[in-house]
Amino acid sequence: MAKDADKNAGLSRAGKNSEAERPLVVGIGASAGGLNAFKTFFDHMPADSGMVFVLVQHLAPDHQSMLAELLGAHTRMPIRQAEDGTAVAADHVYTIAPGTTLTIQNGRLCVDEPGQARAERRLIDAFFSSLAADQGEYAVCIVLSGSGSDGTTGLKSVKEYGGFALAQAGLDEGVGSSMPASATATGLVDFCISIADMPAKLAEYARHLSAVAPDKDADGNRRDAAEHLRTISAILYEQLGHDFGQYKQSTLTRRVQRRMQVLQVDTMAAYVGRLRAEPEEQRLLFNDLLIGVTQFFRDPMAWQSLENTVLPSLLEHKPAGEQLRVWVPGCGAGDEVYSMAILITEALEAHRSKREAQIFGTDIDERAVETARTGRYAKPPAGLSEARRARFFTQEDDGAWRPSKKIRGMCVFAPHSVIKDPPFSRLDLISCRNLLIYMDSVLQDQVLRRLHYGLKPGGWLFLGSAEGVSRHDDLFETVEKKHRLFRRRETGAAEIPDFTSPVSREPRRHDHPPERATKPAAGGRIARAALGVMEKHAMPYVVVDADFRIVHFSGGPLTRFLAPAAGEARFDLFAMLKRPLRQVARAVLTEAFSGGEPAKHPNVPFRIEGRPAAANLIAEPFNTSGYGGGDTRLCVLAFQETPAGGDESAEPPADGRDTALEHELKVTKAQLNTAIRELETSNEEMRSANEEYQSVNEELQSTNEELETSKEEMQSVNEELQTVNSELSHKNDELIRTNSDLRNLLESTQIATLFLDRALNVRNFTPAVRDLFHLRDGDTGRPVTEIVSRLDYDDIKRDADKVLRELTMVERELEISDTDRRAYIMRIRPYRTVSDVIDGVVLTFTDITERKRGEAALRASEERLQRALEIETVGVLFSDPQFRLTEVNDAFLKMSGFSRDEALGKTWQQLTPPDFHENSNRAEAELRDHGYITPYEKQYYRKDGSRGWGHFAARMIGEEAVEFVIDITARKQAEAHRELLMHELSHRVKNTLATVQSLMTQSRDGAAGVGDFIARFGARLRALSSTHDLLTENHWRGTDLRDIVDIELMPYMRDDHPQWTLRGESVPIGSKTAVALGLAFHELATNAAKYGALSVAEGRIEVSWAMEPVDGAQRLCLDWTEHGGPSPEQPEREGFGLRLIRDGLAHELDAEITVTFAEQGLRCDMRVPLDADGEGGRL
């Protein structure tokens, strides 16, 4: 502890002499926002204070600390970031590196980079704790601003080791969660002051330390302490009733010194004076003396051992139904008690036992007991596994942890001094951990005896790791040395310990066994008296145990055989027995114990009052059972006096003269004997009465214990009752509140509500009901059927009965029968009480007049819209924000060919051909941005995959888009057709002009002169023109073969009589082929008129044709036959006409043309393949 710290401190001091120069090491803790606090601190701190400063701040692990740079302006001391192994030096400031844990050991800083999550780390606690252990009273901790409770545990450590603690005052007042507030709440902070005042306090403290340093011994304890300690203990005992007189001197000294440091008192005498004068100081010292560090399952291996060894044995050997009683003296804040409760609960469950357990937690410190009773832990309880915490603790709304009802119910807490107050009794287990270490050996001895008394036979004792019962092997048997588990050993009787402990009393040794060694055997008074009488005549004896310790003395002349040895009183038989008897007694007893049989040694010579005597020594072993666990082997050693070698019994003969005197003497002797006997009898009686009183007293004592316990229990029951009471009163307040809320609700709501009981009597109603029923306040209790209603409604009884019968709701729309025709919805529901009992009905009337009007208007508007949607030719599409169709009208379905089911859910992407997606995207963006789109045209897909043209317009209505589309496919087609026609017309005209141009060229060749050229060219133009006329009549969709032939021959009519005959079916000819055929027939007709059949009146032309199938196609077979004219001659040079027919036509129409110049006239055979359109040349 402080001693070690002094020895190990690696500070720059040469030795004990330079104690005065040893610097204070000041740890300052603040959270991340504590920069300003640091600045203020150093602004007031001189740079040559001779102290070391270590700043511990909560920093983000990846945060580069600027602390050193920032503080540089506020102090002249060098500022370093802590590095592992740095020895701290005076007038230096060290800062914690981000993401590390800083501790100090042997005056050197240790820097760790823990893998632990940051939230779990308590940097300030870690540093303060190491600081406390390392520097002892030279450790100073300062808790500055910050949230949470980091620093509090470390501060406790610092105080425990005698250091000095400061906390920032006036910060976050009323906020319990700040670090300074948490630290202050421990009651251990020496000064709670503003930052500016701290440097001055530190200087004072340092001055004080160096002032008292010369007065201290090598352990750092004051040399003048011892003489004053008794006075201090006496003051505390007087004033507070607690005796620390037998506490360890070093502990006491250290704590007193610490108080002296805080108060800046230099001499013990001055402190004693102050202590006497100030009750507050007494309390503070008292608190300091009770500093304890506890946690759940502290020293887990020991608890494990308790769980494995003690609890199973307790549960197995205990009679069923008997309560398990456990006592935890010095329980502090209750951690140990709750740990015990958890362990026992688990053990009981493991044994499937319903046994009850009661754990008494006591402590001298009432604050601690109060804390334990409350059982609230701001932090998650330390030392508990996750599973246990989840099982046995509940977290409250404010984040505090509380033990569960189950384990709390097992524990009873009470203020109690293990030294001053009577101990609890009949206990199965006592857990008294780390209490004895504070006591000196005398007090320990006393306490152990009390614990021994309190335990049942075979009861268990569980001590702290530094404690033991080595001096009390007679009281406790060691079961597990390592984990400090002990068992009550059977002594002859349970001693009732001395419950008073006057301070001034000299330490008393308890090694003497009590006078009364065994309990009196049961039996009547006479029997006892008789035994008493007989005892004189019986052999004297002692009872010893296997260790030859005397456990019982008989009455009678036992003293003849005993001669207690000088020195410390002992029960060792051989120390008590007269020397000559010792050897033989050992032999006899050994024989009896080993053989289990009685053993005897006759005539052992020895001396009584100088005269020789002899005795038989008889030993007989026996077992006693019934005390707790096993049997105890004991042995009786009896002494039977035998006549010794001499004849001392022979009396000298009496003298005759004295007969009368002798007689008188004899009588008197007899009387004396009688008196003595009577006295002895009454003595015996007194003694047995005394014994009875003793045992009664014992019983009273335990009754008293039980009463004490009951009182505790009553107190806790009382506490619980108080809690329940306050809960009830809280509930009552809530109820009143709720009631008034309900009343306000009923009155403020416009809903008329009527409460009826089962008999339909009015129970209650809201003011609005008065509009519907002629109700007055006095009408409560009247049947509702008797009350006049303004409603058009007579069935109230039937409906209410139905509701009560079927427990359903009945709903009706009603109207007020008079003028303003207001409409109401009436609902009748069963009235359910909180306990779900049906106790009448509730009628509510909601005014729906406005709603009905609104509904009607809405309906009309909807109808209008519907009619608008039903309009033909305009498709209407509704879509969701993702432009998926949600509704379409019939017109659209008709346009697109989809059914409604097919259309809904489709997106425009699915309905729009890809080449129009760009248009649609643009429209969509516009729609989103502006809420409407400029109407545009695009194509859309119909169901059959064909495309239609639509004219689209759209608008957003809320999140929904509505789109209108007019089908413009027909218009688009018409436009396309017109364009086609325009192209076609241009093509035709230009082709025709090209044809005319070529006709002109051809007509020039062979023309006899301009006149002839004009005649020929004109005739050909006319032929072309007449074919065009024919085609134009039929809109250029072709014409009939007959008409082509007819129109070319028509100009050669002779006196209105045709010289030709045309035979053949109707054959449709395509327009292109018609033009070609027209020119060909023109050439044939012109030729005939000039040189052939038409040049004479007798000439005739036969034109006949027919269609014949060739290779699955149709072929026109046409014959042009002339006769009756001049015989034609083969022309010398092929003219244009013949070339056109034979070459041009064949080429163009893929036709076979044969021209024959026969005797009777020219003959032309044409074989023209025609397709379905009547066009040649395509096949």
Binding site: S986, N991, E1175
Partner: protein, 126 residues
């Protein structure tokens, strides 16, 4: 019409494919080419034209875009593939020519002999 005998025709000796369905025009062009000392191979239909391209060595072609209602582009494509220069003939406006062929030389109907000779000479003789 130019008198081709007075100076050597630029088309002399060339074998020209004439794809034209208008009978009179085909005949006139054939006559014209003959006077220019070129040899004309006539085809009124796409199939015929493709057969001729396949069979005959050719120095150039005159292709009507509309062959009896069928576009003449397949002929143009085949000629292009074989690297045979050609000139379109059409009665349509230039814009009616399909996109990929817009940049090819075109004779717009009706045209006179001089136009034909100039265009054919630049196209076929290069």
């Amino acid at each position: 019409m130019t008198n081709s005998t007075e100076h050597a025709s630029p088309l002399a000796g060339l074998r020209i494919l004439l794809v034209e369905d208008e009978m009179a025009l085909a005949m006139a062009l054939e006559t014209l080419l003959k006077t220019m000392e070129a040899r004309a191979l006539k085809a009124a239909r796409v199939e015929k034209a493709l057969t001729l391209i396949e069979r005959e060595p050719l120095d150039g072609a005159l292709v009507d875009i509309n062959l009896g209602g069928t576009p003449g582009y397949p002929v143009a494509a085949e000629l292009d593939r074989r690297g045979i220069p050609f000139v379109f003939m059409t009665g349509y406006h230039q814009s009616a020519i399909a996109e990929p062929w817009r940049d090819r030389p075109v004779l717009s109907k009706p045209f006179d002999d001089a136009q034909l000779e100039r265009v054919a000479a630049t196209t076929f003789r290069c």
